[in-house]
């Protein structure tokens, strides 16, 4: 009897220690968060010409100025692109920069109701189909094409084929999924790889190192189709205490002040340019070159106008059809209308009860009207 008692006591105390120690640590580390006074929001961004200004915006104090105005705290964190999307879907961050395509196939398709509050820019030549030996689009079938599959690169390639009447050739394309971190080396290293689809600055890198490579097609031929957005989780935006709306106002205000500096001609422009270039360790010259092929909405007016234009619906439709064709909306999505998009005019593309992505022009319009 004694043995059982003493044995089980030492055993149970061991179990108690094993269970409670981690719990204790967990509580200790997590507790302070609950007491943080002003609402805090985290924005994830990744390296791209149109998103680098977020880095400058946080560095220069513009963001803090706007956040203070609305009594909130906004943190800006840099991620790899894929990781930023993962973090956004996992609800670890509140807002994230992404393209309209990823907004559809990552958060929206994963059931995370998302709202695009800023249309920052569209790719106007940043993405390109590159080829050696003066190949033409009609000669692509059968040749290995290096690209990151299921991204805007593949979308661009399909659009290139379709716009040149080569839709029938699409199934014959031989796509070689190549990580963006290795695509430059893989393409330049082997002359047998004749075609690649990628984006800037990788495009510039390839073109500058091999004069035999020519761009066959680029995103300037499909303006406004590849959009770069700032997306907020709808539940954050619509928080009953109104802090979400404050966040949206603050970041929109900060964004257009930053863009104004960047595209203006005042003394701050040089600072904004070098600050944004520093975000990706680029030189100012290289960054400027990237901006040339990025259509940055320099004013809230132009962005709001673009967001409320009926043409946006047609462009988004092309993208969502692409996502559906490639099963990017999920294996069990049976209809393209299952992931619906709500537009500023209240119209819905897809099933009304399944709105997952909201193109919201409210805050851009407020900025345009100077109401922020």
């Amino acid at each position: 009897m004694y043995r059982i008692l003493s044995g089980s006591r030492s055993l149970s105390s061991g179990i108690l220690a094993a269970v409670f120690l981690p719990v204790l640590l967990f509580v200790l580390f997590c507790a302070p968060r609950a007491y943080a006074a002003p609402p805090t929001f985290t924005v994830g961004w990744s390296v791209y010409a149109g998103w680098n200004p977020y880095f400058y915006m946080a560095r220069s104090g513009i963001l803090k100025k706007w956040a203070d105005k609305y009594g909130i705290v906004i943190k800006v964190q840099r991620f790899d692109y894929a990781a930023s999307l993962d973090a956004f879907v996992a609800k670890n961050i509140d807002a994230c920069t992404m393209t309209n395509m990823e907004a559809l196939d990552m958060p929206a398709a994963a059931g995370v109701d998302s709202t695009s509050i800023i249309i920052g820019d569209y790719s106007n030549g940043n993405d390109a189909v590159l080829a050696r030996n003066n190949l033409s689009l009609s000669q692509l079938p059968g040749k290995p094409i290096l690209l990151v599959q299921k991204t805007v690169s593949e979308y661009l390639l399909e659009r290139a084929m379709v716009m040149n009447g080569l839709e029938g050739q699409l199934p014959k394309l031989k796509l070689l999924n190549t990580s963006d971190s290795d695509i430059v080396g893989a393409y330049l290293g082997n002359k047998g790889n004749q075609v690649a689809v990628t984006w800037k600055p990788l495009v510039s890198e390839i073109l500058s190192q091999d004069s035999g490579v020519k761009p066959l097609f680029d995103s300037s031929k499909i303006p406004g189709e590849i959009l770069d957005l700032l997306v907020v989780r709808s539940e954050v935006l619509n928080r009953p205490d109104g802090s979400g709306a404050k966040f949206a106002k603050a970041i929109t205000g900060a964004w257009y002040e930053t863009v104004a500096q960047l595209t203006g001609s005042g003394p701050d422009t040089a600072k904004a340019l070098s600050g944004s270039a520093a975000a990706s360790n680029d030189t100012v010259a290289s960054y400027k070159e990237q901006l040339k092929t990025t259509f940055l909405f320099s004013s809230s007016q132009s962005a709001a106008k673009f967001a409320t234009d009926a043409a946006l619906k047609q462009k988004m439709d092309l993208v969502r059809q692409f996502c559906f064709r490639h099963a990017l909306l999920g294996q069990n999505i049976k209809s393209v209308d299952d992931v619906a998009i709500l537009y500023p005019d209240g119209s819905v593309q897809g099933k009304k009860e399944r709105v997952r992505l909201r193109m919201d022009a409210t805050y851009m319009q407020m900025a345009a009207q100077g109401k922020l």
Binding site: R3, I4, S6, G7, S8, S10, L11, G14, A82, L85, D86, V89, A90, D105, M106, A109, A110, G111, V112, P144, L146, V148, Q149, K150, T151, P171, K174, L175, L176, N177, T178, S179, S181, D182, G185, A186, G189, N190, G192, N193, H326, A327, L328, L329, G330, Q331, N332
Partner: protein, 290 residues
């Protein structure tokens, strides 16, 4: 002698659990893992019914179905009423398994020269002196960092991935074979020479034959690194393969496909290991592991 079970025995060293205990305890952590997953998944689905990060059982079954029974995206569609085998043979799971296995097997075959190299290094002193330092150095090189060079030398398709696997695993295998073969008692080699063996006899019929079971065990341990390098290669650049699909699915959070794939890969590796273990026991009944 059948003493009652005391709870305190669970933490004792000098206890002899019954077969029933050992068998059932072995499954507990699996059950706990599944329960934790289910709980996590249910919680997330309560919040967001379309969550794709931790798919529900239903989503997983749907994922398995589309992976194993629906034709791959790049393949012609197959009739939904066709026999299961035919549907499976057109599925992306099967096609990816085929192409990954092909790479895996080629790499395994290419490791045979590595084993022979290690053997010769151990048996022939001059050859060992020539190679040992270099191989030891080469073993410390992180093969993945050589990838851009591999792309240039081997092209971006099959051979660069196979080369990555071979370069990644071969030095370890060479050194391991070297050490194992060095471990053959000197007496055995002396004895073999007094029994009129030639150098070839000693190398292949005495040393290799004796160490083969240990080498096969070493290969078994290296299956995982081999798969790791294969996956690294396929994720970076590929047109098919198990890791290629996982990389693609990651792009839009297709965890409903990724999880079955991960389990499938685990199963395949387990099977490969079991086959090697079984073969080893069958071929070498005399082998008495310490």
């Amino acid at each position: 002698m059948n003493t009652a079970f005391h709870p305190a025995d669970l933490a004792g060293i000098q206890v002899r659990p019954s077969r029933l205990w050992t068998q059932s305890l072995g499954w507990i952590l699996f059950a706990v893992g599944i329960a934790l997953y289910a709980q996590f998944s249910i919680a997330r689905h309560k919040e967001n019914p379309e969550d794709r990060v931790v798919p529900s059982a239903q989503q997983l079954i749907q994922g398995i179905k589309s992976a194993a029974l629906e034709s791959a995206e790049e393949d012609d569609p197959v009739d939904a009423n066709a026999p299961l085998i035919e549907r499976f043979s057109h599925s992306m799971l099967w096609k990816d398994t085929l192409s990954s296995s092909k790479r895996f097997l080629i790499a395994l075959v290419l490791l045979i020269p590595a084993i022979l190299l290690g053997l010769h290094m151990a048996v022939f002193p001059y050859f060992g002196a020539l190679c040992l330092r270099f191989v030891t150095f080469f073993d410390k090189i992180v093969a993945l960092s050589l990838l851009p060079i591999l792309f240039i030398v081997f092209g971006i398709e099959e051979w660069s991935k196979i080369a990555l696997m071979v370069i990644g695993v071969a030095p370890t295998l060479i050194l391991d074979t070297f050490n194992i073969a060095k471990g053959v008692p000197r007496e055995q080699i002396v004895k073999a020479f007094t029994l009129k063996s030639s150098d070839i006899d000693v190398t292949y019929r005495i040393v290799l034959k004796q160490v083969l079971p240990q080498i096969i065990n070493s290969v078994r341990l290296n299956l995982k690194p081999l798969a790791l390098f294969l996956f690294a290669g396929e994720m970076i650049a590929a047109t098919d393969g198990l890791a290629y699909r996982i990389a693609l699915m990651r792009r839009h959070m297709g965890m409903d496909i990724i999880l079955p794939y991960v389990l499938w890969v685990a199963l395949l590796l387990f099977l490969a290991d079991a086959i090697l273990r079984f073969t080893n026991r069958r071929l070498h009944p005399w082998y008495q592991p310490l």
